[in-house]
């Protein structure tokens, strides 16, 4: 079987990719996708830890289910807000949305 460390590495890479998307993408939807990617990186981690070390406990499985639903709710609400953002500002470019600063 693949060593556990590799899977951790992959999940960390996924997480980092999500974070990079968050920082570099100017599109609000893309930033949100970055966040989802980060959440799923954590999920991968959970499942791997369960599979490798603690196959008798169901904690991780439950946690993953929980996260999937919560992520869906978050995405739904997030998209609704971003839609409203487009209506107000006429753009979803995050760099152009800075009425407040200082």
């Amino acid at each position: 079987m693949v060593p556990f460390a590799w899977i951790i590495l992959v999940s960390i890479l996924l997480f980092a990719l999500g974070a990079i998307a968050l920082i570099t993408r100017r599109n609000a939807v893309a930033a949100l996708m970055g966040v989802e990617l980060m959440l799923n990186a954590a999920n991968l981690n959970f499942v791997a830890a369960w599979r490798y070390y603690y196959p008798d406990h169901l904690d991780a499985q439950v946690a993953v289910l929980l996260v999937i639903t919560i992520a869906a709710a978050e995405a739904a609400v997030g998209l609704a807000i971003i839609l409203n953002l487009y209506r107000r500002f006429g753009t979803v470019d995050l760099d152009q949305i800075r009425l407040m600063r200082g």
Binding site: L22, L94, R98
Partner: protein, 616 residues
Amino acid sequence: MFSLLWLAPTLPLAGFLILATVGARLPRRVNTALGVGSVGLAALVSLLLAAAWAAAPPGAYTQTLWTWLHVGTFAPGITFYLDPLALVMLLVVTGVGFLIHVYAAWYMQDDPSIRRFFAYMNLFVAMMVVLVLADNLPLLYLGWEGVGLCSYLLIGFWYREPGNVKAAMKAFLITRIGDTALIIGLFLLFAQLGTVQIQALLAAAPGLTPAAATWAAALLLGGAVGKSAQLPLQTWLPDAMAGPTPVSALIHAATMVTAGVYLIARMHGIFTQAPGVMTAVAVIGAVTMLMAACSALAQRDLKRVLAYSTMSQVGMMFMALGVGAWTAAIFHFMTHAFFKALLFLGAGVVIHALGGEQDVTKMGGLRKTLPGVYWALLIGALSLAGFPFVTAGFYSKDAILYLSWTAARGAPWLWALGWFTAFLTAVYAFRMIFLVFHGPAVQAHPVRDARVSVPLGILAVLSVIGGFVLLPRVLGGFAPFAAFLRPVLPEPPQRDGGIFEVVLLAASAVASLGGIGVAYLLFARRRTTSPDAGLARFWRQGWGFDALYDRLVVHPYLWLAQECRHDVVDAFYHGLADVCLMLNGWLSALQNGRVRWYAGALVAGAVLLLALLVWR
């Protein structure tokens, strides 16, 4: 009888509350009566307490109203503690405070916001009384902060002038620096000794380690230095003249600036454990008194002369504290309260009579128009200058000068600085008198009002007779004041006096008379008003004898005037403020509104913490 003690702070506080809440619906006369009356009643209570004390001294009296909170050994109560030291302070604060209030009823009679004025003044007195009577550190700190807050409100009383607001802010913030030190010191004492009762602290003080004692004393000193406007936190005091004159009188004579002196005297048990800090107290006091006296010489604003004079006199008290002459310091505090209140109130009348003019060089010859005030101010100036044998100031100042040499901690050079300061004091006191009341007369409105003459009269009498409660040994050694305070404040160990005492007494008298003489030469005969004018005039006339004199006196005087006009220390605080604002600018620039940037910071912060984790 002593159970009346709680009324002393409560009456002014009640005055404040009534004025602040329902005062708006009451007529002005009622407001004034409330403001003056509450402090008057408090003064009456203090007198009753004093009478009761004289009849049967209880040693000390404690009154607990309620326990504020109780956490482990930390149990401060709203508890008042009365002992001889507190009684002296209480009498001065409420007594002089009352006279100032009476005067203020006249001074502020046309001000539209007299209600606000008396509300603040009453709160000020209440807080000062709380500070004086506090039985524990938190209560003391409450009074301390309250006094600071009230001074802020009163200095900025005429807030429509932006300059006044700035002065108020400066006073508040600079004293805050001291307060910060103070609260850390109080916490340190609590952490070390496990109690907040002041008496218990003093009893336990010998158990402190030298390091802890030094730190605690140094931090307390920091607080005292801020409130009492000593080096290096002195710069707020002259600017604090922005407030109405009764406020200046209250801050300078009876309350705020002497709080530091009281604090050190009250906590003397801690200070005696820290000899290094004691020396620091003496040196700070000595340097401040000299610097401030020089500055007072150079001022043209009448109130600023008095402000620097206060700083100088408080410096003298600090020097006394530093050599362990606790009683002498409190003695000088008392006489100073009398004559400085007198001087400020008199100066207020002068300024009023001249329609707001504060520049002494534009005054003169007021002796004729304001004879009563002339005599009052003259007595005040004599007392300030320490005119020998008849004024209170002479005895209190001599007590300090004498002990600054002969006390075990004293030193000749401290005495020398004190002596020279006493000389300068006489010079600037009479410079003021001569410039204001002598010479060519200027136009002024006479002032006749009982609310002025009665307080001035009482204070003038006190400025004279107030000194006869502690006479030097060579003059009979009649010293009920020292005997009264002895249970609280020990006498410093000192060398034997004898003939030496007579010499020092004579030297004090010489300083005073000499100073007055020099002032006469410089300001009464020739009216050396401003540096350049005096200089020009001097060379034009070219009197041979005076040339030498000028080289010795006028030149150093001009140089000092140049140096002292701007406080060097001020620059430091401005610099500190600038640094803070610069940092503020940088940090604000980071808040650029870009969400991607914020996300980057979030991730960077996380990476930073993780890196810390790996590398440790």
